[in-house]
Symmetry: D2
Subunit: 353 residues, 4 copies
């Protein structure tokens, strides 16, 4: 089923963009863990819309109500359910999309899958809004991981061709990213990125990018061979974030052009601990964590909902027809997708521990 | 668990490179399906080692014995178990690797995970040999998919920087690849690729590459949103093939540099059927199949087992030590990985139908 | 995980007796199904407390709010989440139970499992209240099953030694039970049962009983051999209803005293359809449905929460101590458990179809 | 799927009674565990046929070959696969059963389920023979449980109306049963039971019975509320043993006739440890282990395959027809089912730890 992920920290996500509420049930959180509600709220605020020029004008409080699993701020060993009410909805914006599917959006496939009964309002459960409960679950997972010394940080590696510095794969500095709304390693590229986004917005268009994520503090040997490897589990989680079209670990697609002698990471001893000199493998060997930092990148496609006129097909007449999408859409979702990638990473990794 | 994949066509893979046998149990195959044993054998032969200059000198018959689930060549509705005996093993080759982990191989992580009790012989269950039962399961899945008009084909998109032509994403011609041991769309690049591989072999080194896969005949609407999407399920399967370090769908990482208006695939009508004019989305929208050909690429790292001397750490002394890997290894695993990618694709897709 | 059940119609139950809310997520309901809200409400009313002398004085509206998965009364193919607010709570009643576990209740085991962090209020998530969301899910499942001609009905087979007539196993008449709050085949035993319950109540005690359930309209061949059989799946669901201590199918434990020639159900032809003459097998052969009515019975223990003084152990002092349970408890939960058994049956069976 | 059980100690059973082999894959056994092969063999010998007057004349070595997961007698952390070759098969015995389903056997339901493609030989995968790999898995689980001080023992509580003494529920003596082929607490009833079985055999008939199982050494708090409780998991495993028609925990169906004050088990302190004075609850409270001995009973129906003429329906003509079953069948399977119940118990419990 599509709404479930994980065996140990099992999440079940429900809701549609414009249903009464969206939310998540988390099963498997041990009893006795104190949850820091403010930390959860500030993490979710990074994903929430309506704050910046580059994000949609919709304003959603995205304030989760925890209805079960927590007593006086402490987990009690039963499933945690958090609910987020949908409020600032403009459902009428979407009425015509039922029969005029947006290019490169889920509309057409969802219509065919559900015989027209899919909830088209706001993209239904294909909406990026569904990452809000995922971020809640990720924020809970992160608090548990942090107590084990595991830290997750992601940054905008690229937007519209403008590149940030990549992580040092052997020693990524996650701390500099902490809490940034527009997380970059090299903040000097921020203005150029913002200019590209603004230009796209004014042109009724959108731009894409790449997000890079690093995880430190992982012990050696997490994951399982074959289908339960770290890459398998992380990639399954990552593609739950809408608009992700590719993922690569370590040096990724670049490894295809290297020789084994160039790509292999030799072992050495550092302060008595076995490490590798380089980290082309991105912290994963044979599907297991190697003890080196976990490094991966995901490709984010440009927002498909643009205001420029586009050709589509009317599902009632089966004839081509021009479509001008109204409503409020992000000209670039990369910044808001960063915390989603961190959340998906936390959810995936906590299931391997 | 790592050895399981799928809910409807559920496979369970067992064995180690040098255990008595390896094999797979397939649960969920309906009763009454006639299996073409020769077709299974010829598919598995594409993966089998020992045939070419670019593959290991090991000779493994890789002849699966079906011990259950099939009566007189027809499935009877119960789990199919196929067993492949391990025969041509040189276990002594691996004795020293127990304490001298090979760079960029699973040895170190597996040792730490299992407290030294991991089966190091031939790489244990991290071995590429484990793709043999996966190919058996894939061959069974393919026969069922073909009856539904679904065809899968992959080719070597790149080896050591030498590139094949990519699939036409709107109309990929899979039929030209059928049965090729060294599958290329443009066969004229074969000699250059082989020369690169041979040069690496003579230099005690290895090379990597990229495999591109296409699937035609898929209906619209397969897959589920969030964690059950086509990308999620395919990527989870793909990373079960050792040495895969990245995956991208459609135009993949290239989409990051495009504008929405460039990347979006407009809808049109073709012979009364709704299609897209371009196929940057690679046949997947919102995690669901769009009816267009499914296109994706995976990065294959150069074989980590090379004969060149490399530095590692002795796990008993905790001191750096030089390692010269003996044994027989492929200087390039890309050609033999092609049927594995096809098999993993078949296994993933049949679970979505 | 304990809060999940099923693969096709997958339910996830959350909440504690006195948390903000309880609820359920149902994944796998196809799009396009019109749900009858009144039918759901009237089914849930049968389980709701506060209506009769034999049930607790708590009054819970038990009015589910559907927050996702349904648009204008029709399912849209995404998970259905229903939430029931907890309102009439007297949490102070339970304060001392944290350290004085009630005999034959979950308190002691839950305390040990969760290191004292379990939610003791109202029994937490071990409470019978958790059957409310189960009944919601069951009511949805029943509506889908009824469209396939499958009907489920249960009655009070016994309370405090007073027995109702059993179902005719070959031709059980479910229709006579429809909607009864105190469902009996032979209504003439009702007064005697009620008298036994009232006597127990006046004596600060409680009584148990047996519930018998029948299902008609099942096709032949549902279920799977081994672990996926009808008995396996039904029993796994049934023991989720608190206080159930046993289950038997067909003639159940009585078969132990019969000879094969007495117990075997011979086949015959009825109106061209193959049936069995008798139905000792209760509609299940080899774990599969036989096409005959499904018949089973469950034992319900007397409510463990009684007002009579009982000995327990103080978990802080580790010394025996007398306990007098206050609060409002059913002197007999059998009548309210009947719809829970029907709901659990519906949830189990819909996963086999 | 029907052939899988468990999440932590996950077993996958394959094979049919007369296929080339039957077997089991066990995933989740940690590396570094020394398996006692002789202990496994002697446990499996208790289930094996052909030894006694009351068991079938078939002789099956039932000698499992471990083909993966174990190196030099020690587990290596990867799935253990054990294979048992089928040898002493008389497949011709079953030819006519394809169209003449045996009363109270799976034949008819399996035929309908699989459109006639089911493997009828020896009952296919509905055969009691499938408990052989289950016993292998159980024997492995038991060795792991025993290292944690958990012991499992079952005895014949009843055969053909002749009763053994029941376990003392507070202090069951499992040790006296150890290794008995015909396990009884009170051996003086053995002759009477054997006489009943022999009488049934001579009369071309069969008899049923009840098996009682006890487990000691379980810690407090195993299991989960709702669907993951000890009763849920044990019953799901138990009904995988063919011919089981009912299960009851603690005092089981007898609790229905008791008052709460009679049925409740008061807490007390014994040598500083919290226990209950009585054990009507059978060691399970709220689905969790209470620390008291686990006690349950299962009903075993008389072997359905009897030689007495019986009426069935010819599936080709759809007309009633007399059937005389040939082949070799146990007049009573209760003794051989005892180790199966122990094995199913071990498999279920190890998944809760």
């Amino acid at each position: 089923m599509s709404c479930n992920f994980g065996e140990k920290f099992k999440i079940t996500i429900f809701g549609q963009s414009h249903s009464e509420a969206i939310g998540v049930v988390i099963d498997g959180v041990p009893a006795g863990i104190t949850l820091d509600g403010e930390k959860i709220a500030s993490f979710m605020a990074r994903r929430a819309p309506g704050k910046n020029a580059y994000s949609t004008k919709r304003k959603e409080a995205d304030c989760p109500e925890i209805v079960s699993g927590v007593v006086d701020g402490i987990t009690c060993g039963t499933p945690i359910c958090a609910i987020i009410r949908n409020s600032d909805q403009h459902s009428k914006d979407y009425s015509k999309l039922k029969i005029l599917p947006r290019p490169s959006h889920s509309d057409f496939a969802a219509y065919m899958k559900h015989g027209g009964f899919n909830d088209i309002r706001g993209g239904g459960n294909f909406s990026g809004r569904m990452t809000a409960p995922m971020c809640f679950a990720g924020a809970v997972a992160m608090q548990i991981l942090e107590k084990k010394g595991i830290k997750i940080g992601a940054h905008i590696e690229k937007i519209a061709g403008v590149c940030d510095t990549r992580f040092d794969p052997v020693n990524p500095d996650i701390s500099t990213l902490d809490g940034k709304d527009f997380p970059l390693i090299n903040d000097s590229v921020k203005d150029e990125m913002l200019a590209k986004i603004e230009a796209a917005r004014l042109d009724c268009d959108s731009v894409g990018g790449v997000i890079e994520c690093a995880v430190t503090g992982l012990p050696v040997g997490l994951g399982e061979p074959m289908f339960g490897g770290v890459e398998n589990v992380l990639s399954q989680a990552m593609f739950a974030v809408p608009a992700i079209k590719g993922i690569e670990f370590g040096n990724g697609f670049d490894c295809a052009d290297l020789k084994g002698s160039e790509n292999n990471d030799e072992f050495t001893v550092n302060d008595g601990k076995i490490t590798t000199v380089t980290n082309n493998h991105g912290g994963i060997l044979g599907g297991l964590t190697s003890g080196m930092p976990l490094i991966f990148r995901v490709a984010v496609k440009p927002t498909p909902s643009i205001s420029k006129p586009q050709m589509t097909v009317n599902l009632e007449t089966n004839k081509p027809e021009e479509l001008v999408i109204e409503g409020r859409h992000d000209p670039c979702i990369v910044p808001r997708a960063v915390p989603c990638i961190e959340a998906a990473t936390a959810i995936a990794l906590i299931n391997l521990i």
